[in-house]
C-alpha cells in the first residue's frame, strides 16, 4: 500500500528542527514548536498504526523509484508502535527539559538537536533500505554526540570523546558489513535482501556477515559490548540522558530484530545461539554492575543494559509469543527507563550529588517522588499489575517450554528471572538509601526544586500503569506485530509487490 503519511515521522522533526535553528534567540517559540512537533508525530504514528492494522503494511517509494531500485520507507506494526512510544517518551523528556536544562543550552540549539535526534530515530524505524538505515543512524548519532558534549563540562567532554570514538568505529564496521553484503547478494533493500538470501541459501559467508552485523548492533544496542554505556549515559543532564537511555539503545535493538527475523534467519543454530549467549551475558554482567555501584547514575546506566539483554533474549527464544513478549517489553522499557532517569535526575538535582551514601530521607519532603520511584521499581522488576510483568511472563514461559528441547533455554530463562531480582535489588538500594532514613536536608537547604519537574514524571508513571492495566487493549497490535516479524512474507509482499 502506498501511503504518503509514511514520510511524515521523518519530515516533521526535521523541518521543525531546522526552523528552530533559525529562531535561536526565541526560546519560548522553540519550546512550543518542540511540543507541537512531537504531538504531530504522535498523531501521525497513531494514524499509521490504525491504517497498518486495518489495511496491512504501508510503504512509500521515495521519488517514485520502485523497490528494490530506489529507497523505500516501510511502516509495519512494530515500526508504528515504536514510533508512537518514541513520541510519548520524547514529549515527557522535552517538558522535563523546560525547567531543568538551563538557558545556556536552550540558546545553543538544544531543542533543534532533540528534533534531529528524533529524525534519525524515526528514520531508522521506518526505512526499508540498509544503507539508508546507516544514514539515519548517523543522523541520530551526530545529534547525540552534540547533545552529550553540549555544555562542555569536564565529565561530559571526557565521556563524549570515548562515546564518539567507539560509535564511529562501529559505524565503520556497519559500512564494512554493507560492502560485503552488497558484494555477495548485490542489493541493499531489506525485503530484496531477504528474498536473495533465501534463494541463495545462507552460506558460511552470509553467516559471517551476519555475525559482523551482530557486533555492530551489539555495540549500538549495548548488547554484551556495553562497556561504553554507563560512563556516557551518566555524563549529560537528566533530560538528555533519559532520552538516550529510552531511545538510542532501542534503535539498535529494533535493527537486530529486523535483520535477524527478515534477512539472517536461516541459520538460527549459529546466529540465534550467539544472540542468546550474548543476551544471557548482558543480563548477568549488567546485573552485577548495577548491584556493585553506589552512584545513582551508574546504577541506572547498568539497568539499561539489563533491559537490553532481556529484550534480546526474547528474540533468541524466537517463537511468536516470545517475540510478542519482547516487543511488549521494549515498549515498557522505553517508558520506564525514561521515567527512571527523570526520577533519578530529580533526586540528584535536589541533593546536588549522585552518591547514594550522601543521600537519605527524601521521602519526608518529597513523598510523590518516592512513591513514583517505588512504582517504577516494581514495574521494572515485573510485579503483576504493572507493565513489566507481561513481557517477562511471555519470554520466560516460552524460554522454559523451549528448554524442554534445548537445555540452554532453561539457562536463558533462569538468567532472565535472576536479572529481575538484580534489578529489584539495585533499585531498592536507591530507594532504601535515598528515601528512607533520617532526613538530612530541610526544604531550604535543598540545591534544586522539583517544581515543574514532577509533571513529566507523573505523566510517564501514568503511561507505565496504563501499559500494565491496558495490556488487553494493546495486545492485539503486539501479537500481529510479532507474527509479521516471525513470518517475513508479508513484509516482502508489501515492498516488492510490483517486482516479485
Amino acid at each position: 500500500m502506498m501511503n504518503n503519511f509514511v514520510v511524515l515521522p521523518l519530515v516533521i522533526p526535521l523541518l521543525s528542527g531546522l526552523l528552530m535553528a533559525l529562531l535561536r534567540k526565541n526560546v519560548r517559540v522553540q519550546r512550543w514548536l518542540s511540543i507541537l512537533s512531537v504531538l504531530l508525530t504522535f498523531t501521525v504514528s497513531y494514524h499509521l498504526l490504525q491504517t497498518v492494522k486495518a489495511e496491512g503494511i504501508q510503504i512509500l517509494e521515495i521519488g517514485g523509484w520502485t523497490a528494490p531500485f530506489g529507497i523505500v520507507l516501510v511502516v509495519d506494526l512494530i515500526s508504528a508502535l515504536l514510533l508512537m512510544t518514541t513520541s510519548v517518551v520524547s514529549f515527557a523528556c522535552i517538558i522535563y527539559a523546560f525547567k531543568s536544562i538551563g538557558a545556556e543550552r536552550e540558546k545553543f540549539y538544544f531543542y533543534s538537536l532533540i528534533q534531529f535526534l528524533l529524525t534519525g530515530i524515526n528514520g531508522s524505524f521506518i526505512t526499508g533500505d540498509l544503507f539508508n538505515l546507516y544514514v539515519c543512524f548517523e543522523v541520530m548519532l551526530l545529534a547525540s554526540y552534540v547533545l552529550l558534549s553540549l555544555g562542555g563540562g569536564r565529565v561530559q567532554l571526557r565521556e563524549g570523546i570515548k562515546y564518539i570514538v567507539i560509535n564511529t568505529l562501529s559505524s565503520t564496521f556497519f559500512l564494512l558489513g554493507i560492502a560485503y553484503l552488497y558484494a555477495v547478494v548485490g542489493t541493499l533493500n531489506l525485503a530484496h535482501l531477504s528474498v536473495r538470501v533465501a534463494e541463495a541459501g545462507q552460506t558460511g559467508l552470509m553467516t559471517t556477515i551476519a555475525v559482523l552485523f551482530l557486533i555492530v548492533f551489539g555495540i549500538k544496542a549495548a548488547l554484551f559490548l556495553f562497556f561504553w554505556l554507563p560512563g556516557a549515559y551518566s555524563a549529560p543532564p537528566a533530560a538528555i540522558s533519559a532520552i538516550f537511555a529510552a531511545l538510542l539503545t532501542k534503535v539498535g535493538i529494533y535493527t537486530i530484530f529486523r535483520l535477524y527475523t527478515l534477512v539472517f534467519y536461516h541459520q538460527p543454530h549459529i546466529t540465534h545461539t550467539l544472540i542468546a549467549v550474548m543476551a544471557g551475558l548482558t543480563m548477568l554482567l549488567g546485573g552485577i554492575g548495577a548491584i556493585g555501584q553506589w552512584d545513582i547514575r551508574k546504577i541506572l546506566g547498568y539497568n539499561v543494559i539489563i533491559g537490553v539483554g532481556f529484550v534480546i533474549s526474547g528474540l533468541a527464544v524466537f517463537t511468536s509469543a516470545a517475540v510478542a513478549g519482547a516487543i511488549y517489553y521494549v515498549i515498557h522499557d522505553m517508558v520506564t527507563k525514561a521515567l527512571l532517569f527523570l526520577l533519578g535526575g530529580t533526586m540528584i538535582s535536589i541533593v546536588g550529588t549522585g552518591k547514594l551514601k550522601e543521600i537519605s530521607g527524601l521521602i519526608r519532603n518529597h513523598p510523590s517522588l518516592g512513591w513514583m520511584f517505588f512504582i517504577t521499581t516494581l514495574a521494572l522488576a515485573g510485579v503483576p499489575p504493572l507493565s513489566g510483568f507481561i513481557g517477562k511472563v511471555l519470554i520466560i514461559k516460552e524460554g522454559l517450554s523451549k528448554g524442554v528441547f534445548q537445555a540452554g533455554f532453561y539457562w536463558l530463562a533462569g538468567i532472565g528471572l535472576l536479572s529481575s531480582l538484580m534489578i529489584l535489588y539495585s533499585l531498592m538500594k536507591i530507594f532504601i538509601n535515598g528515601f528512607w532514613g533520617e532526613t538530612q536536608l530541610s526544604k531550604e537547604m535543598e540545591k534544586g526544586t522539583t517544581q515543574g519537574l514532577l509533571f513529566p514524571c507523573v505523566f510517564l508513571t501514568a503511561v507505565c500503569v496504563f501499559l500494565g492495566l491496558g495490556a488487553e487493549l494493546l495486545y492485539p497490535y503486539i501479537e500481529s506485530a510479532s507474527q509479521s516479524l516471525i513470518d517475513p512474507h508479508s513484509y516482502i509482499q508489501a515492498v516488492l509487490s510490483e517486482v516479485v
Binding site: 544514514v135 548517523e138 562542555g152 569536564r154 571526557r158 565521556e159 560485503y180 552488497y182
Partner: protein, 112 residues
C-alpha cells in the same frame, strides 16, 4: 587489480588500528579517519573494479560500471567529514578544559 586493492586496504586498516591503539587523542582521530578511508576503498572494490564503462546499461556498451557503490561512498565521505570535523573541535576543546590529550589520563575517578 582486486588483489592489489585488497592489500592496500589491509595496509590502511593495520595503520588505522595501530593509530587507534595509541594514547594520544589526535592519533586516534587520525586512525579513525584512515580506517574510514580504507572502508570507502573496500566499498568501491566490492562493487567491482572496471575501467571505461559508463554507469548505464545500454546496447552499445558491454562494460558497465555499477554506480551504487560510488553513491554510497559519496554519502559516507560526507558523513565522515562532518564527524572528523566535530571530533577535532571536541578534542581541542577537551584539551583546553581537561589539560591533557592522553587517553590514559582520561579515565576519570570517583570524585566527580
Amino acid at each position: 587489480m582486486e588483489t592489489m586493492m585488497a592489500i592496500v586496504i589491509g595496509i590502511l586498516f593495520s595503520i588505522g588500528v595501530y593509530l587507534l591503539l595509541c594514547q594520544s587523542l589526535l592519533r586516534i582521530i587520525l586512525g579513525i579517519s584512515i580506517i574510514s578511508h580504507a572502508t570507502n576503498l573496500l566499498i568501491i572494490t566490492m562493487g567491482g573494479l572496471k575501467t571505461g564503462g559508463p554507469p548505464l546499461i545500454s546496447d552499445g556498451f558491454f562494460s558497465y560500471t555499477d554506480p551504487l557503490p560510488q553513491a554510497l561512498i559519496l554519502t559516507a565521505i560526507v558523513i565522515n567529514f562532518a564527524l572528523t570535523a566535530f571530533l577535532l573541535v571536541l578534542a581541542y576543546r577537551s584539551y583546553a578544559v581537561l589539560g591533557t590529550e592522553n587517553m590514559e589520563q582520561l579515565r576519570g575517578n570517583d570524585d566527580e
